[in-house]
Amino acid sequence: MTARGDFSRQSFLGEDAEQVLAETRVAIVGLGGGGSHIAQQLAHVGVGHFRLIDPQDIEDSNLNRLVGATQDDVINGTPKVEIAKRVIRSVRPWADVEVSKTEWQAAADLLKDAHVVFGCVDGYRQRMHLETAARRFCLPYIDVGMDVTRLADRHYAVAGQMISTRPGGPCMRCLGFLTQQRLDREENDYADAGINPQVVWTNGTLASLAVGAFMRLLTPWFDSSTEFEWLELDGNNQLVSRSRQPDYSIKGPCRHFTSNDLGDPFLDLSLRRAPKDSS
């Protein structure tokens, strides 16, 4: 046991796993159904640094799935990032948690500062932009999302996916997840966006898959080298399987993100003052 706690039950992750996790900085974008679950699990495994980004306060309709939220939070309109922070600090009081109650695009400094980005956002275009940001700052990106589709009268298909990509490997466009058709449909029909059904058990499964992908990235406890993961959850049959879409979609190295697209293209060194020599 260390000052941070007793991690003996996960010691199979490696001698230095506790240290690695304690020094890791994760950004979680979206602290709703998916992100709140992910934050809770990452606190338990011992991640030391959190960057939480979400502009919203909790509403009554979030209580069906937002882990850690209470009725009092609904009454008080607590920001979702503050609920997640409370959950994390109640498990690991020593964790460093920075929050931003803004759109993630306005909190790029928190993204840049992370080692891994979790995306729990709505819509294909937001995913596209978030993965673009992750690539620009050279960060692995782990995305979760779920959908409920009406098949026929009183018949619904619950489904979701967890996709993990990393710089240099195929992106979500290469994989065939972010297709131009999906992006266009969302953009051209934006006015028709209805409510987005979400349920806690499906979100929980997807969050667990995301945390699993993260743990494999940081503390690979078995031999598996993959450049990406795309796991599909068939929520009706409660089955998780590897998506076969990438087998058909990947056509060689990623041509969407090149090494020219790294870093801040507007960084102007001439605006940076050299430190004064005090001697």
Binding site: E103, W104, Q105, A106, A108, R125, H129, L130, T132, A133, R136, Q180, L183, D184, E187, N188, Y190, A191, R255, H256, F257, T258, N260, D261, G263, D264, P265, F266, L267, D268, L269, S270, L271
Partner: protein
């Protein structure tokens, strides 16, 4: 000396087709690319919003891959105005806002594309 966001390319020759845009900007105007998409980045673009002068940076996408929106103009702020501001985008490591303004053809000079989008504010 450059003192704006285009400083990294200080002294670069402006492409002739961008000179007309540069004339209405206070700073650098240049092509930039991200994820295979081509943009014109403008520092200090001057334009009219409902008859009043405005000045801000802007980003014009010349090859947006959506038939309904083949080009797009991005601004650093949501100007409201009753337009459908429907996207917060993250492009070239910056936060941008854009709105639904369809059908501005990419098959015309950059200044004409820009003018097509600024029509929304007249």
């Amino acid at each position: 000396m450059m003192n704006d966001a285009g400083g990294a390319l200080a002294g670069a020759v402006i492409e002739p087709e961008l000179a007309a845009i540069a004339a209405i900007c206070s700073g650098t105007v240049k092509y930039m690319e991200e994820a295979g998409r081509r943009y014109v980045h403008m520092v200090g673009l001057r334009f009219l919003v409902r008859g009043a002068d405005q000045q801000m940076d802007a980003l014009l996408c010349l090859d947006y891959p959506n038939g309904t929106y083949p080009t797009k103009l991005y601004l650093p702020a949501n100007l409201g105005l009753g337009l459908n501001w429907n996207e917060t985008a993250f492009i070239l490591a910056k936060n941008w806002f854009t709105w639904s303004w369809s059908g501005v053809s990419p098959n015309q000079p950059p200044l004409a594309i820009l003018g097509g989008h600024l029509e929304a504010f007249r």
